[in-house]
Amino acid sequence: MRFLLIEDNADLARSVHERLEMDGHAVDHAATLSEADDHLAVAPYDLILLDITLPDGDGRAFLQRQRARKADTPVIVLTARSAVSDRVDTLDLGADDYLTKPFDFAELEARCRAVLRRRGGTVTNLQSYADLVFDPMGGFVSVAGENRDLRNRELRLLEVLLSAPGRILSKDQLCDRLFSLSEPVSDNAIEVYIARLRKKLEGSTARIETVRGLGYRLTGG
């Protein structure tokens, strides 16, 4: 996925940038609206992450301009303003969604997925492993050509395992990706989801192995 991140705070921009790259996305960063226009002129993006308060103008004006020239790249507004009326405003101006800073990356991902699904323009960056085919954005999984219906947490667990096939991932690492960091999680919670995922992927050549005392890994023939 190709993101355009429009954010003037250098620290936050760097952090979000790195974080998105860590998840395998391509990110261009614009610190101002004019930089953003320059980027948009030369490259297509799957999603724009837009800050509202920018040095050379209001992000909402940019949003209006985008919609006026029929550019329909989905926009998720990342706003530090939380006044209720601001939130309603951004949606009225044509934003696909908004998130209030500080935000949870898992939630950002979830909202990106939801927006892309809603737009119908699922990006075809299919991943395949063994006889698994996985579309992380569309939330679509097939085992040997047969569709399997996975719930959100199962999908994310599969996504994490697929990001490092063959490597051992600890319970903690999996927990961090699956559960909100601000909610308490019991020790065996991850085991429940591993069991569910195994069941959903039954019959696949890809298997989730338990490495006693260390964690889990995805292997496939």
């Binding site: 705070n9 620290d11 936050l12 952090s15 979000v16 790195e18 974080r19 860590m22 308060t53 990342l78 530090a80 303003r81 939380s82 006044a83 209720v84 009326s85 601001d86 309603v88 969604d97 209030t100 800073k101 500080p102 935000f103 949870d104 990356f105 898992a106 939630e107 979830a110 909202r111 997925r113 939801a114 719930r151 959100n152 947490r153 903690d172 690492q173 961090d176 909100s180 960091l181 601000s182 909610e183 308490p184």
Partner: protein, 457 residues
């Protein structure tokens, strides 16, 4: 204490003024009538007396008076008056009423003297004329005095005075409704202006454009200046809050993002625990900032009595869509049950949205994974009833009233981050919108939060 009513003062002053005018009119007419009748009387009396004096002729050894009929007819013209006369020659009365009072000073040949005196129980108007007559070849001073009662004159003057009094009273009586009417006409622009300002409602901060008379213009200008200042202050407050939020949240977002990445890379358990603590703390401070702002918004807007038409079904649907990705993260489902008819309430859309958002947020936050949150909207005897039910942990034995208190959280929140303001916002919004809020534990576990808003047609 209130200042005296303008209207009462104006009417009072107009009535006092017209009473003064009526009295002045009466006095002027009465005095004028008296003067005029007296002057007429004096003229006739003087002319008759002079004629009498002229007609005195000296005869052998005395004087002779030969009164012409014209003189009498002149005196008779005065009406039913009694006439008295006295003629003195050489200072001695020779004819007429010898006791008729003498003038206060001696008249000359050219200047008759007019005077009033009491005589035989009657008020007399008298005139004395002097001349000299040659009697026995010696000039003898002659004094002719003619007096006349003044009953007829009095009667005329009284008639005139009565008419003057009637006129004055008429003027006064006319002045009362006229002053009431003119006070009302004069004060009407003030009433209209007050009404125009009153109709606007508290949240209308546009300048007053109502046409006002020149005398009220300074007041309207001051009012507009005040409104402008208020608007500026509110705008500054809003900007300040937005700025403050921006300046706190952006670094918090960086902190959280960095901590999340560090957590992804960290291996040892103590570091991970610390990083989780940091993330929770950022979450908590961001949430507190949010809820405090929301709460301030509720308090601020509740007084403004905005009357938007709010389509509750559409709002519930939009909120459910908005929360779905969040619910997905916990594999939770949001089930929406809306009526076919449109249920509307009239109130502040921003507040109602905040209340509903808080309820759904709570339901998702305190529910276990894989559970369902149901949002339903029904018509309930003229009220629109919205229920948000979850299969979460319930109220932990706390009462609704306790949980609606600021910063009060139940004993069973566990590790869930919260500010203790959510239910306060919901309950204050319900009250401000003329609705009601109820919170109950479900028998099968979980919580049912219900909001009622008056239905508008």
């Amino acid at each position: 204490m209130r200042a005296p009513s303008l209207r009462r003062r104006l009417v009072g002053q107009l009535i006092v003024l017209s009473a003064g005018l009526a009295i002045a009119l009466y006095v002027a007419v009465r005095l004028g009538a008296e003067r005029a009748s007296e002057a007429t009387l004096d003229g006739i009396l003087g002319a008759a007396t002079s004629t009498i004096a002229e007609e005195l002729r000296s005869v052998e050894g005395g004087a002779e008076l030969d009164l012409s009929p014209g003189t009498f007819s002149m005196l008779a013209a005065m009406g039913e008056e009694r006439i008295f006369h006295r003629i003195d020659i050489n200072g001695l009365p020779v004819t007429g009423y010898a006791d008729l009072p003498l003038p206060p000073r001696a008249p000359t040949a050219l200047q008759p003297v007019f005077y009033d005196a009491e005589y035989r129980d009657a008020d007399l108007r008298l005139v004395a004329v002097a001349r000299s007559l040659m009697i026995e070849n010696r000039a003898a001073p002659v004094l002719v005095i003619v007096g006349q009662t003044r009953e007829g004159q009095r009667a005329i003057a009284l008639g005139l005075a009565n008419r003057a009094a009637a006129l004055g009273l008429a003027v006064f009586l006319f002045a009362i409704p006229f002053s009431l009417l003119s006070a009302r006409t004069l004060l009407r622009p003030i009433g209209r202006l007050a009404e125009a300002v009153g109709r606007r409602g508290g949240h209308d901060l546009r300048p007053v454009r109502h046409p006002a008379p020149a005398e009220l213009a300074p007041l309207v200008d001051q009012l507009n200046a005040f409104i402008a200042r208020l608007r500026q202050t509110l705008a500054q407050t809003e900007t300040f809050i937005a700025e403050a939020a921006h300046h706190i949240r952006t670094p918090l977002a960086t902190l959280r993002s960095e901590a999340e990445m560090a957590l992804r890379q960290a291996g040892d358990e103590p570091t991970r625990t610390r990083l989780r603590g940091m993330i929770r703390a950022t979450e908590e401070s961001a949430r507190s900032a949010n809820q405090l702002l929301d709460h301030a918004t509720v308090l601020f807007r509740a007084d403004q009595k905005a009357q938007d038409r709010v389509d509750l079904g559409a709002m519930a649907r939009a909120l459910a869509d908005r929360f779905r990705p969040t619910a997905d993260l916990k594999d939770m489902e949001i089930r929406l049950s809306l009526p076919e008819e449109r249920l509307e309430t009239s109130g502040d859309a921003v507040l109602i949205e905040a209340a509903l958002r808080n309820l759904i947020d709570n339901a998702l936050k305190y529910s276990p994974a894989d559970s369902t949150v149901e949002i339903s909207l029904v018509d309930d005897l003229g009220y629109a009833r919205i229920e948000v039910t979850d299969r979460g942990r319930g109220l932990g034995g706390e009462t609704q009233a306790a949980l609606a208190q600021r910063f009060r959280r139940g004993p069973n929140v566990g590790g869930v981050v919260g500010s203790g303001l959510g239910l306060t916002i919901v309950s204050e919004t319900a009250t401000a919108m003329g609705g009601r809020f109820a919170l109950a534990e479900r028998e099968e576990g979980g919580t049912c939060a219900t909001l009622w808003f008056p239905r508008s047609r």
